[in-house]
């Protein structure tokens, strides 16, 4: 049986406008269970223009259900207490239990001509919709159109990342341009689906060849390379801590952090050792070979000649040891050699000084070992054999995704590595040495832009991140910040983001912070954050026409940390061990 348009509309009827309505908000009397918070609804209205006598214009006012109030105004609280005190079942009394009132408070999103708008942009409503009008649930395709808004003219910018939570048949596309140029923050408690959301976005951006550099502290992005279409584009790098690119104080701090504290004499000489070693290792290849052999011989350590010199803490330890040995033996030749190659007269040390310095090489080696351990973990998690290139701009490639694996490193190392890389790329963009734009993705962004910096490394990375957040737009450097502790994020940085994906969040401090910093997030949206499902999100800001509640589409890629059943994997391991033993 065919239904007329009017019949269809009555089937989709959700409620009647009651009470005072304004051009921002109205209330709907609704039947029980017919409507949910964040539903998108519409009311048809007539707009009469005061100045002329033309027929009134028919418009459709779009609105979103912000909250639903249930109230039984006929049930006095006092009676409730009395029932409880006397263990009386309310049904046995004359109390009224049936009159529950359900009111939906709706926020007006905008209006369009009923005939359908071509441009997709909603006009401001400057006149409240008429009380006693009916509200209805619009067609999926109309909703999709309104959610898309102006983006339908700029199809190329759209990223297909979600569906409407309350209307799964409606796809939600967001503005990729806004994300790559004006920064995006993905905020949610742990396990809410941040990394999944981020991977979905990365996959969508990669399809548009946008250069992306991911700072990945947990290996969440290793799986990107396993997606067939991305295989050739993803490069994973393990990070080395570039000792000789640091200021000497930083290295002192690193050594003290990983080994033990330096004695005063060690500290006062450290600068000279560090600069000297740096000069020592900076020779041309032929020259370097000569120096390597000399050092190997002098220390009686064949491994040095065998492996060659690397600019790391092991080398620094060997170098210091050579100086201490030469000084201790009052070996003038060796000291001359060292001073010549290091360009440091100060390294011509007395025997007594050499005695004081005896413990230093060992301390450096302990720190070096720990550092190497972190590097190993980083390599493993990244499943990468490639170290970070010395020219960091190589990370930025057309259609390329570079994953900088930071797993294994402690927070301050991660921050240091990040700020070195990001700084260099940003500087290259500013000086135009790098032509391609780039998008940085920072997982655990609160480590890279913490609200309070405790260590120098953090201070440096805040400066870097803030600068990119504030000026990145001018230079084509975008940020995606991901954090499970938004309240620990630097406020300046967060408030520079123009787009937000906010997912389940139960910590009240985080909710309040988010509500305060993000202007586009309404109170009612903030209120539902603790009730969101895993994978559900509120999109807000420039990436979308108006804030909507969505379910993120899953990414194609898998992360390293995707939870496996602990007991199942134990059994698998045991089975493989038994197999191996049998063979």
């Amino acid at each position: 049986m065919a239904t007329t348009p009017d019949q269809q509309k009555s089937k989709r009827y959700v409620g009647t406008l009651v009470g005072q309505s304004t051009s921002q908000e109205f209330r709907l009397a609704v039947a029980h269970e017919t409507i949910r918070e964040q539903d998108i609804i519409a009311v048809d209205a007539e707009l009469r223009r005061p100045e002329d006598n033309t027929a009134p214009e028919k418009i459709r006012v779009w609105a979103k259900v912000q909250r639903i109030e249930r109230l039984n105004p006929l049930f006095p609280a006092e009676a409730g207490h009395e029932l409880a005190a006397t263990h009386t079942d309310p049904f046995e009394t004359v109390l009224s239990l049936s009159r529950e009132m359900v009111t939906a408070v709706c926020q007006v999103l905008g209006a369009e001509p009923l005939a359908g708008s071509a441009k997709g942009k909603l006009d401001h409503v400057r006149y409240p919709p008429q009380p006693a009008s009916s509200a209805y649930r619009p067609d999926s395709k109309d909703i999709a159109r309104v959610v898309l808004g102006e983006l339908q003219q700029k199809e190329k910018r759209g990223l297909d990342i979600a569906t409407l939570s309350n209307r799964p048949e409606v796809d939600v596309k967001v503005d990729g341009h806004a994300i790559v140029t004006r920064h995006l923050a993905i905020l949610a408690m742990t396990g809410a689906g941040k990394s999944w959301a981020a991977r979905r976005i990365i996959e969508q951006l990669a399809a548009k060849n946008y250069p992306i550099v991911i700072f990945d502290p947990h290996g969440d992005y290793t799986g990107l390379a396993n997606v067939p279409s991305l295989k050739e584009r993803v490069r994973r790098y393990y990070a080395q801590f570039p000792v000789f690119e640091q200021a000497p104080e930083t290295v002192v701090a690193v050594v003290e952090g990983l080994g033990w504290n330096l004695a005063n004499t060690h500290r006062s000489m450290f600068d000279d050792f560090f600069q000297g070693a740096n000069a020592f290792i900076s020779g041309a290849p032929e020259e370097l070979k000569k120096r390597t052999n000399w050092l190997s011989n002098y220390l009686g350590n064949e491994k040095i000649a065998y492996y060659g010199l690397k600019p790391n803490l092991f080398f620094l330890a060997d170098f210091v040891q050579a100086v201490v040995q030469a000084g201790g033996r009052e070996d003038g030749d060796a000291l001359n050699q060292i001073v010549e190659w290091s360009g440091r007269e100060q390294l011509r040390i007395k025997r007594q000084v050499a005695g004081w310095l005896e413990g230093l090489p060992n301390n450096l080696r302990v720190a070096a070992k720990r550092l190497r351990q972190m590097e190993e973990i980083s390599k493993r998690v990244a499943q990468a054999s490639e170290p970070l290139p010395l020219d960091r701009t190589q990370l930025v490639r057309y259609g390329g995704i570079s994953v900088v694996a930071l797993a294994g490193y402690t927070g301050d190392f991660q921050a240091t590595i990040y700020s070195l890389v990001a700084d260099e790329i940003f500087t290259a963009r500013v000086s135009d040495n790098l032509r391609l734009p780039v998008l940085f993705l920072l997982e655990e962004a609160h480590n890279f832009a913490p609200a309070r910096a405790e260590m120098a490394a953090e201070q440096r990375s805040i400066t870097t991140t803030r600068q990119i957040a504030q000026e990145g737009r001018k230079f084509g450097v975008g940020l995606i910040l991901i954090s499970q502790r938004p309240s620990r994020l630097d406020e300046t940085t967060l408030s520079q983001c123009n787009s937000y994906i906010i997912m389940r969040m139960v910590n009240p401090a985080d909710q309040n912070y988010v509500r305060r910093v993000i202007e586009t997030l309404g109170e009612d949206e903030a209120r539902i954050l603790p009730d969101l499902d895993v994978g559900e999100a509120i999109l807000s800001g420039q990436l979308i026409n108006f804030p909507v509640l969505v379910r993120m589409k899953p990414p194609e890629s898998k992360g390293e940390r995707e939870e496996r059943d602990a007991f199942e994997s134990l059994e698998e391991i045991q089975a493989s061990l038994t197999n191996a033993a049998r063979r």
């Binding site: 009647t16 406008l17 009651v18 009470g19 005072q20 009397a29 109230l71 105004p73 006929l74 006095p76 006092e78 009676a79 009395e82 029932l83 009386t88 079942d89 049904f91 046995e92 009394t93 004359v94 109390l95 009224s96 239990l97 049936s98 009159r99 009132m101 009111t103 008429q130 009380p131 006693a132 009916s134």
Partner: protein, 497 residues
Amino acid sequence: MNQENAQERRLTEDGVREDLQRQPHLFVKLAENALAVAESLRNNYFKNTTHFVTALRKAMQAASQGKRSDPPLTVCKIDGADWATFQGEVVTFIDGGVGRVQISSQAPILLRVGSYCVRTGERRLAERERFGYYPVILGDLEGGNKERKDFPDIVRITAELLGGLSALERTPDLRVLMFHGPLVYLMGGYAGHTPFSERDIDLFLHQYQPVAELGRQLKEDFLHEAQLDIYPRMVPESADEWVKRRVFEPLSWIAYLYRRLIREAHQRKPVPIIAGVVERGELREFSEKVLLERVFRGLRVKGNADYFNQMYGRSDLTSPKALLDRLGYTDTLLLSMLLQPGEFSEPWEIGKYDGLSQGNVSLPGEARTGIVDFAPLKPGKIGFPRICGCYVHVSETTEPVRVEVFSELGPEQIVEAARRTYLYARLLPGYGFPVGLDIADKYAHVPAWLTDAYSKLIQYHLGVSLQRGEISDAEMRRVLVQAIYMTHRDWLFRPKT
């Protein structure tokens, strides 16, 4: 303190004083009275009141123990008032309110009567409760003297009564019909309004009678009686004209509706309990006609007629009326002090019709007035029913409420009404008033526009009614829409150009 000691202490002046201090509403009232009475009475007002109450309590106690035969007051315990006893009962609560909509004038334009019908123990919500809501737009009526302050009252009384009648007629198993307020008002004060036109009555009936035929019948039955008995006795000269013009003199029409209600109730088995429950009553009739009458008689018997004059050091406290006039005691005040929670006072017949005498009345649309005799409306064939009342004390923190029933429906009415009043009111111990009436009141009460929760309910309900097209009268719709959506910026209602 154990039960016995507590009872004993009630009979001492210290005990009475403690009781008074524990009941803020009483204490405040006494303090107000103390300021209002003559200066010579003021100083010992509290002390003397305590003294008097102690004496009364002692006399009541002695009588209840058989130690004396002439108690000043008999009180009864409310027995078996628990929900288990009253399961499966259908109860309807009726309450009317006057609407003052903030438009140009302050005069009320809208009157609402709400009804709430519930079956105790019913768990299916759809079966359990029924709400009715009947608005009357005062401006639509041709009858009644609109300039009189009691005009809305007379309309409300009519509307509430019709609400009750239709509830009874619609509900074959109705067990209790409870009104908010007196079951019958002191009708003398309402005499003299211009009769309603037939059109007015149709407006009323439109709301109440789902079956048009019943409404028509009600009208015809009244007019028939009016022709035969009522108008000839009230307006012997103009009875023919009144009948010809089919006008409904408000008081006789109301009296008729009462008789109709009682007749309908009489036909049911068991006879439904019909009661009105009054809060904050100002009546002192019980004190004057029953309580103090007996006190004074007892004093005369004992040769102690000057008791009060001696106590207060005066000479004019010689009759119950004089005593009440001078000391400002009311029924609720005295009975708060004499009844304990869970008790009710002996019933008495309330004189409701003393003021019914002659008055001037004009017909709708006419300035000319004629004399009408209202005395025939005193209880009798065409008159109002006799009313019997008692006071029920619900909780220590609230004043006793007055329960009124029709004497004609039998002596059990007052006891049964008191039991239920007590039980229903126990759910609101801080208010001490039947919760069902509170519900009907909230449902019908005029909301503080657009602010409180109840207004939302009314808006909701009317919004839905409008939406469903249940209110078809165009003018009614307009006024209701106006009432519901009234705001300071009433842009909606600018005349359409």
